[in-house]
Each structure stands twice: as structure tokens, then as C-alpha cells.
Assembly symmetry: C2
Homo-oligomer: 501 residues x 2
């Protein structure tokens, strides 16, 4: 496979070395021609994670990135990396490697992808800096499969350094914009790999649990004809000769599916908010995990299903993603996420009492500010030792028009938020399923009935009582892992100032 003729301009250096002198190892290294599916060789590539003492003295092929390289006399030590795993590799002048080959290896740009043939050797002293601590690879052949440019916009080791260490020891860390501007490299760090594997796990658990509970997955349109809820914070789309809008939530469609007898539905998809909020927890496009469910008599049937789903997700993450959690904790230390079974459910008035006792002045029908939410989270943690709880029975005045009023107290509503580490991750409610009451409430909110006609009409041909809620995926990931910015848990975040990459 090595082919000198395939060398490109950017690869002059290795070429020079290769052609420099008589070299008994010249077939054993080089820059491969671009893999264009020329052939289907019968070669097995071993995973780095499988390089253990069980494979001692075996000759293996691996494909990995050059994480670091360090020449030292007639030897060159490479650290090869594959996702979150790495192994030390040694190229030493001898039967297999020439002086030129060692030099070639030492000069491969970091982050280049190489194919390496080597013998797995047990080491006497554990290699603390690698995940594969008990073996190293004695290199017999090394070919560059894809050469990285020589200057990296950020160093992976800097990108995983805990901030404290950076500050105290004066060592480099990487700021958020540099990370996001060079996301392809930033996502290669062990921390990023762990964050997004865990996030994939959240989606998987969410669906697995709901499918087991008999839910049906639905797909709802993102381009909509009318901006519901008055049209604030909505993105406009040019739709052929007209205007359309991007859906701020799948709620109308989830509710239509309930009216269409699907009974229990969920969806995962993008949600768009044209809100000029530049905070640690707002994005203009995020992923919503949405649930809607018909119930028999009381919306608490739905609250319990949602809370149980979240608790099963938390448990599933702690069971299946312990390695990922620990990897993230190395860079971002935090307490393990605590939750109760069954989930703590507080009523809004109880929360108000706790806050007032802590010196906060708030009216009965006032919404929680972000600082008060966080304070409440701390108070709840102290009193109940849980990072997850439900706040039920919000004042009707602070909820959208379609929220079902409480049957006993007209100032309260059948609505709830759920919190992780003191931040809201879900907002939900029993929805009004009666077209007449819905009309009354819309008028009370000053909403143009023409604009929501289709919505109200959905309930005219028999609608079961129902409730639901929407969960922000990035927030759940952030708060479960104790991270501090939702941009850390969105692969390609969108906010008022960022649309790239």
C-alpha cells in the first residue's frame, strides 16, 4: 500500500527523508496513497482498547491517530490514540526500523492517521499516561493514511486540562470560542467523546423506556404556517412566495396525535427559539425530547410517567456510562447526581414558603427568577438530598393560555416544571381539551382566535384529557454531568451570535 508517488506538496518532508539514502527499511514506512477503495485487503485492524496482555507477543495492525511523538536518540515514542483509548508505540532502530524510519515516525504531524504493524509487548512498569497501561506496541511498519497539517488550532491536551490546574499551574487551557470554532478537533478530546456518547445514551434510553411503556414515536413538522402564541421569538422562513415559521415546539402536533387516538406519543427533534438570550443555558436551536399522553382521571398519571422515565434514564446512565461520567469528572469535577424514588413533588406554594423562609420576597403569582430557581434547588437539596424534583401547581397567570386551570383554586394551574441541580429541564401541563374553555382562555390572553383556529378545531371531534411536557436534551446532559454551559453539550451550538460551524 505505501506509494511514494502519491506524496503531495504538504508531505515533502517525509518524501525527502525517504529518498535520502540507502534504506533497508524503506518499504516499511511512508505515506500511503489516498484510500480510494482500490482494494479489499484481507487485513484485520485491532482496536486499541483490545491491546492488553492477552495479546502479548502477537503481531497486530492498528489504525490510530498520532497523539504525540517524542524522538530520543535512536528511538521514537509515539502515543497512538483511538477515540478515548491510547497506547504507547515504540519505533527503535533495529531489524525492522532504520534510522530514516525512526526519523520519519518522529516527524509525522500530530493528529495524522496512521496504519501501524507492531508486536504487542508487555511492559514492566505501568504506562500511567495511557489507557493501555500494561503493553506497548513495537512498531515494524508505519504508513500515514491521512496527514494532518503541521499547526493545530488547539492542543488536545490543553483542551482536557481542568481549569483549576490551568489557573494554579499557569498551564494552557482552551477557551470556548476557540473550541467551538475548531469543533472537529475539540470533539476528539476524551471529555467531548464521553459527553456526546452519554448524550446519545440519553436519547436511546428515553426511547427505549417509552417504547416499553407503549408510546408511539411521531415526527412533527418544523415548518409551520402560523406563529402560535402570538408570534414572539419565532424565526421566519421564506416559503416559496409566502412566509412560514419555524416551530417553537411540537406541542400542537403532539396534541393533535392525542386527538387522533395515538394515546401516548413522543418525539425527539429540533426546537427553534428566536430569543436574543445570551446565557449559559439558552440556544436558538436545541433538541427537544417531547412527551404527550392521554390520561384517565388526573394529570398526575402523566407526571408520574414522565418522572419515572427520567429516573430510569438517570439510573441507566449511571449503570451504562460510568466510564464516560468519570472521564468528564476528571476535567469537570462534580458530585454524583442524586435522585429519589419516587420523585419528590413539591407544590409551588411550598416552594414559595421555603424561599420566603430563606429571606426572598415573592408574590403568590410571581414566576421564579433564575437565581431563585437555583436557590430553591439548594434548599431542596439540603432538605431532601435530591438533585431532581418536580414543582407542581404553578400560578395560572405565569403559564400559557392552553394550560388547564386548577379545579379548586382558580389562581393555580395543573402545570409543573422539573428541575435538575436547581435548573429547569422540563415544562409541562395538563392541556385544555375543551374547545370552549380553550377559546375563553385564549381571549383572556388577548390571542387572535383566527391564528389558532386550527389548534382549537383539533378538539372539536372528541378529545381525551391529556398532559405532557418538553425536555431540553442539552440541559439534561449538562446538568447530569454538572457542566456549566449548554454549549458544552451541543455539538454545533446555535445562539444569537453563533451560526458556525
Amino acid at each position: 500500500m505505501p506509494s511514494a508517488s502519491a506524496c503531495r506538496k504538504s508531505q515533502e518532508k517525509p518524501r525527502e527523508i525517504m529518498e535520502a539514502a540507502e534504506d533497508y527499511a524503506k518499504e516499511r514506512y511512508g505515506v500511503s496513497s489516498m484510500i480510494q477503495s482500490q482494494e479489499k485487503p484481507d487485513r484485520v485492524l485491532v482496536r486499541l482498547s483490545d491491546l492488553t496482555v492477552q495479546k502479548a507477543d502477537e503481531v497486530v495492525w492498528v489504525r490510530a491517530r498520532v497523539h504525540t511523538s517524542r524522538a530520543k536518540g535512536k528511538q521514537c515514542f509515539l502515543v497512538l490514540r483511538q477515540q478515548q483509548f491510547n497506547v504507547q508505540a515504540l519505533v527503535a532502530v533495529g531489524d525492522h526500523a532504520s534510522k530514516q524510519m525512526v526519523k520519519f515516525a518522529a516527524n509525522i504531524n500530530k493528529e495524522s492517521i496512521v496504519d501501524v504493524e507492531g508486536v504487542v509487548r508487555k511492559v514492566n512498569q505501568k504506562i500511567g499516561s495511557c489507557t493501555q497501561q500494561d503493553v506497548e506496541l513495537h512498531v515494524q511498519k508505519i504508513y500515514v493514511i491521512s496527514l494532518a497539517e503541521p499547526r493545530l488550532p488547539l492542543q488536545l491536551d490543553d483542551a482536557v486540562r481542568p481549569e483549576v490546574e490551568g489557573e494554579e499551574e499557569g498551564r494552557a487551557t482552551v477557551n470556548q470560542d476557540t473550541r467551538l470554532d475548531n469543533r472537529v478537533i475539540d470533539l476528539r478530546t476524551s471529555t467531548s467523546q464521553a459527553v456526546f456518547r452519554l448524550q446519545s445514551g440519553i436519547c436511546h434510553l428515553f426511547r427505549e423506556i417509552l417504547i416499553n411503556k407503549g408510546f408511539v414515536e411521531i415526527q412533527t413538522p418544523k415548518i409551520i404556517s402560523a406563529a402560535s402564541e402570538g408570534g414572539a421569538n419565532v424565526f421566519t422562513v421564506s416559503y416559496f412566495k409566502n412566509n412560514a415559521y419555524l416551530a417553537q415546539s411540537p406541542q400542537l402536533y403532539k396534541q393533535m396525535c392525542i386527538c387522533a387516538d395515538f394515546e401516548k406519543v413522543f418525539c425527539i427533534g429540533p426546537v427553534f427559539r428566536a430569543e436574543d438570550s445570551n446565557t449559559h443555558r439558552h440556544l436558538t436551536e436545541f433538541v427537544g425530547l417531547d412527551i404527550e399522553m392521554a390520561f384517565n382521571y388526573h394529570y398526575h398519571e402523566v407526571v408520574e410517567e414522565i418522572a419515572d422515565t427520567l429516573v430510569q434514564i438517570f439510573r441507566g446512565l449511571q449503570e451504562r456510562f460510568q466510564t464516560e461520567i468519570q472521564t468528564v469528572n476528571k476535567q469537570f469535577p462534580c458530585e454524583p447526581f442524586k435522585f429519589l424514588e419516587p420523585t419528590l413533588r413539591l407544590e409551588y406554594c411550598e416552594a414559595l414558603a421555603m424561599l420566603r423562609e430563606a429571606g426572598i420576597e415573592m408574590g403568590d403569582e410571581e414566576d421564579l427568577s433564575t437565581p431563585n430557581e437555583k436557590l430553591l434547588g439548594r434548599l431542596v437539596k439540603e432538605k431532601y438530598d435530591t438533585d431532581f424534583y418536580i414543582l407542581d401547581k404553578y400560578p395560572l397567570a405565569v403559564r400559557p393560555f392552553y394550560t388547564m386551570p386548577d379545579p379548586r383554586n382558580p389562581k393555580q394551574s395543573n402545570s409543573y416544571d422539573m428541575f435538575m441541580r436547581g435548573e429547569e429541564i422540563l415544562s409541562g401541563a395538563q392541556r385544555i381539551h375543551d374547545p370552549q374553555l380553550l377559546t375563553e382562555r385564549a381571549l383572556h390572553h388577548g390571542i387572535d382566535l383566527e391564528k389558532i383556529k386550527a389548534y382549537i378545531d383539533s378538539f372539536r371531534f372528541g378529545a381525551p384529557p391529556h398532559a405532557g411536557g418538553g425536555i431540553g436534551l442539552e440541559r439534561v446532559t449538562m446538568l447530569f454531568l454538572g457542566l456549566h454551559n449548554v454549549r458544552q453539550t451541543s455539538m454545533f451550538p446555535r445562539d444569537p451570535k453563533r451560526l458556525t460551524p
Copy 2:
């Protein structure tokens, strides 16, 4: 729970009846007040599907829709429906029901939701018109939970009638616009329930299979800063003070994830095409099932993974959704979907030969027209007896700039489509992972390099060879079930002329 005071204007008729005369059953029927989560009664609602002879002589509560009602002297026969299940219910003057109660039941508008208490009785003759053929429900109490308006915009029985029957027997069927305009009702039919349950199953199988294969689920942004591929067919979004675009595919982001070492990724999400195509298979917003995967030596490694995923989906559907398939077949008869293992892979030149043999004149570098695709599907079916196959090695000229050229024949490319029943459901290719070749190919296509700088830069720091593809969910559902319009398999379809509901 019944509460006469809760009656509304539209419910005058039942009210009159209730108040008309001395009525020994007056507590046993009526219109319930709106369920507002007033109480948590200790009552079990039995599923209609569980009403079998095993429950004979038991008293049960059910909640269901009134599908039809038919008064006959002192009796009223109702058909109660719950999703795809239905049962006959009988209200007869006697100990439990008064004359007034029978009249009340007979006057409940179709599609209203009712709570019914009744005794399950074995019947002597099977009830052919119901799914629960061996029992009927002898009603003791009946309360309207949600009253439907008296005039339905379409009749459910018309909406499930096979077109042939409609034409031959002069019976009503429902046209597509009426269906879509009244989607909440149309989705209640047994056919729609089956179609969308099966579609939920496709998504579930897709993910289950890929997670088992070691893939990671990713979430890619839908709002993007630059229109790739020249900017045709892209929707523009007002993004604060600037313009942005809706992603026509997640491809760039999938590829970035490959460059970021995730190795095997998938995503399910909306895809937007501002194409003024008014055909049976084009939507302006559809759901893409997307795959991208690094491979070792040959893109066929990826082709095989994708084909195996689809085959496992087909098998899974046939195993888990036989009832749904049969339900849809009743209205839309079609041959069972056939596929081979391993999947048939034809090269483009072979397909050309088959078409030419059938009398079609086509150039070597010409793309397949829709009629020729369909003809090819029939020829393949005749020759190989499969409804699913791969067409490999498309002419380079008809594929996008980022497609990897064939290493041996510069007019061919490492690209492929997959077909179901003669229609394309997936398009894919090995992508160029070398920034220099990618630049050359973009220039060859006349693409402004500035606009795709971020894309090309993604490959500058070491990129593994990779390939992938995008599947259209609605097309897979349509073609698997042998349906004829993609609007039948999109819950709320979007096309140049339809943005509602």
C-alpha cells in the same frame, strides 16, 4: 361524576332528555363535567383489546369513542372504538337502562368519547364487523367524557374503503385533500393507525440495529450559515439581523463527526428542500435517516452495513408488525415486500445493459429518469425476484462534487443508490476525505470555494476514509407498504402547496 350542570349549549339535546321525565336510571348516564383532574378515582379502565371470552360475565369500565350507533326499538347498538380495536355495546331498556337512557345513548354524536360500565357477554354468533368478535358489552352506565360536534368532516368508514370498492360499488371514499385538511380525524382510521405505528417501528428498528452495531447517535443543526452545493433549493431563514438557511441534509455535520473520531454515526431528523416538485414522492420537509461511517479499506464495508441495516429493518417489520401490514393491505392491497440476503448489488453499467435490452436508449453518463428507475425495478424483480437492491458505481458526472471518483475508471464514482419497489430510497457515496482533491472537484463543479471553506477545512487535520448515505423515512414506509403517495406516510406533510395543518 355525571353532572348535569356541566352541560354546555351544544349538549342541549341530551339535557332535555335527561330532565324530561321521571327516570329511574338518571344517575346512570349523562354528560360528565370536563375532566380537570378533580379526583383520582380508584377505577380500572379495561382495554377494548382485552375484552374476550376470558372476561365473560365480568363487569368492566371502558373508555372509547362512539364509532357508530343504531337505535332499534327499546335497544341501542353502539360500536365502541379504541385505536384499531372495536366492540359492540348494547343499551337495552331493563333493570339498568331506562327508555330515556337508551335514547340518550342513541343520540351521542359519533366520535364522542364515553366512559361505559358494562357486563361482558359471550355472543352466540361472531360479530363480523368488530375486532372483538366473541363478546359484546351490556351497558349499565354511560357518560360522555368529550362530546364531538354533530357533523364530521369525513366518515371514518369512507376513509378506510378500498378505492376499487368505492369505484365499483359507487360507495364514498375520501380524497387526499379532505383527509389532510382533517388529519386529526383521518389519523384515527385503522389504516392510519397501522401506517404510523409501523413508521414508529422503522425508526425504532433503525436505531436499535445501529446501536447494536456500535453507532453513536448525533444531533445536527438545522439552521446553517451558508447554503452548500451552490444554494439551489434551499429555504432562507431570517436570523436576527442576518439570513441563514435550513439544512438540506445533515451530511456536512455527519462528516465532521467522522473527522472528530466518532467513527460510526447516525441521526434522524428533518431535512428541508425548497424544491417546487409536486410529485407523489417529493416533500419540502421530510425525515432523514442518516448514516456515516469510517471504513478501513473499501466503501463496500459501509454499503454492506447499510444494506444489512435495511434488511434487518424489513425482517423486523415483517416479524413485529404483521397485524399493521395486514390492516393496511385491506385498504391498499399489495404483494409482500421481497428481499434477498445478502442484498443484490448491481453496477450501473449492468443496469444500463438491462435497460438497453428493454429498448431504452441511454448514454453511459446519463442519470436514470424516474420512469427508467421504475422500469429497472420491474426488470430486476423479474430477473432476481427482489424488491430491494443496490445500484453501485454511478457515473461521476451525475453525482455531487464531494463524491469519491472510482480509482480505476475516472468516469465512474464510488457512489450508490438503494431502491425499494423501483424507487430510490437512499443515496450515498464514499466522500472525498482529502482536502486537495476536494478542492479540485469543487472547482471543477464551479463552486465558490469561500462558501465551502469550513467544509474543506474539516479534513485538514487527519480524516479517515468514510462513506454514508441518507434514507427518506416516508419513502421507506410508503414503498414497504406498497402505498402510492408519500403524503400517506407523513403525518403532517409539507409540499409547495401545503403548509397546514
